[in-house]
Subunit: 380 residues, 2 copies
Amino acid sequence: MKAGVNMGSPTKGLINRPILASIHTAAFQHNLNRVRELAPESKIWSVLKARAYGHCFDAAIAGLASTDGFALLDIEDARWLRQQGWKGRILLLEGLFHENELSLAQELDCDLVVHCETQVQWLEQFEGKAHKPFNVFLKMNSGMNRLGFKPSEYRTAFHRLHAASYRMHHMTHFANADQLDRQPSVDQQMEVFNQTIDGLDAPTSLANSAAILWHRNALGDWVRPGIMLYGASPTGHFSDIEHAKLQAVMHLQSEIIDIQELAKGDRVGYGGRYEAPDAMRIGIVACGYADGYPRHAKDGTPVWVFNASADGVGLVCPIVGRVSMDMLAIDLRQAPNAKIGTVVELWGEQVPVDEVAQMSDTIGYELLCAVAPRVPVVIK
Amino acid sequence: MKAGVNMGSPTKGLINRPILASIHTAAFQHNLNRVRELAPESKIWSVLKARAYGHCFDAAIAGLASTDGFALLDIEDARWLRQQGWKGRILLLEGLFHENELSLAQELDCDLVVHCETQVQWLEQFEGKAHKPFNVFLKMNSGMNRLGFKPSEYRTAFHRLHAASYRMHHMTHFANADQLDRQPSVDQQMEVFNQTIDGLDAPTSLANSAAILWHRNALGDWVRPGIMLYGASPTGHFSDIEHAKLQAVMHLQSEIIDIQELAKGDRVGYGGRYEAPDAMRIGIVACGYADGYPRHAKDGTPVWVFNASADGVGLVCPIVGRVSMDMLAIDLRQAPNAKIGTVVELWGEQVPVDEVAQMSDTIGYELLCAVAPRVPVVIK
């Protein structure tokens, strides 16, 4: 167990506020194995954006060492990864942001996404200066309307970069692989994609986590799992991934730091949102929205309290009142054993992050990425 | 202008994704002066929790150097502040989390909040070991039901710590200083507070930003401004602070990194939430929820686009479609001049953070604190 700041690296120094994120590398490995089982013919880009979705890079490269490549957003993260000794492939998911990064990208041996005309021009002008041609993942906008070339422009861009000797790959991204009733569907996007690349022989990269789980016809040569590596659901609903047997990688814990005894009618926290229906005991937990816990969390959002019942069993105690910057309150009526210093889990093994997300009208992705730098991280 | 990572310090190294938070120290100074004008008889604890509400500590100590003291959550931050040469007072807002921090707190000359019986016991046992008695801010739970002693227990705790030679102060926190129609009101809490401290002579600390702005009868000897120092509203509504003439300290900017031309009926982003009512042009901005921008932001949330109109004037372009992890989309129908590389402001001078918060069902506090460590910071 190592302890630093939740950036690239785990926390060093005194850990005094009781909040702590522990990152389980064995769960990373397990989830990566699940991707292999679901997409045995594909290579895997493990997506490490946003400090590995808030999990810290050190933990991710330890747990995901058997991946085929890491997909990143930021060339500085690629540099860091090479400094750690990573010899496998690295994909920059939005390509380069400035032309002057081309030499560094070469030096770091990065694969590049190319999603717009400007980036095509940079690569054309770089032709000949490359000591080794870049692997290019040309991004098609097949209906999501975010990054990429429209089908009508895609083939031209492909031919230009192919003519400039880059090693071409086809890539697109699905807008609704996690939902059945939305437009454009995976099938619609696949039809656009397949028609557009017809006759342009090159490896493909298609599937995000949702497609890996639910659209086995849309995997491609390189899959790009993100959220499922972290053990959370692409849909935001834990029930949708129960069958997939993923494991939560981050366990976010804290402690009760104060207890209040309320009389009937007393109110809790800012705005007095919760009113005690009877005399009751509440616990104040050292975790708030400035730790990354969602302020949108409603009364009833589950918090696991270890050793809570009279006979020492853990159980869920719901949130009461609005989450504040550094603290939240939980209902201890079922938890007579809970006291100052009792450990709670905000999400992880006992409470899926998806359940907290659902009670906050968002998805686990946002909560994991939002874990604040002030939360210490340990790698297990 | 200095450029590091958004922790304590500004960003060092290559800044490649175009997103950037610039922190304006003159605005800090201006807002602190406004507090002085509103509470001329009080000393000021400038609240620096959560990396100075996401603004980075370096910028805050530069801009708020004329404060009377800094209020922090974490003793590690107090250590850092002393290392930077801060000689003024430091208050630990939740006191100590462990008894073994007492010596360090002495060494760093911290003032301590004491909010529970356990902390009283630690201090009683420490009596005599202190080379200088701590300043204690004894926290009363006057109705918010978060931290602190009930009135019935408060006087006993006060007498015990007073008998142990600590330098006592009275402290409480308001649940609803920003709202008129909620229980408990400031007046109700003030009545409880004044009755409880009757005859116990000691300085007081009462007002947060909302009380400083709107409850001039509830300031106390030490005020504790937080959100107003950062130029945002305690209520979450910018209109409520327009008269107070505060200045936004953080300007969060990014750039358009791709343009999409939509046909009528095309959909944008995950879930296809936005449907183009006509042919239209949209811009993809390098800012997403993993940067701290709220995924809850609705269609219509304002983004300021510089140099957007045909004659080069900046204007608001609303968000279309769901914010994704690294990107968001804006409607460019009124912005013919916008192109790849055009600079946008997500919040700051042109778009109050409160307006983004309101469109996301939260408050500016949460957005500012959530600015991610991957967002580079420059101090101006």
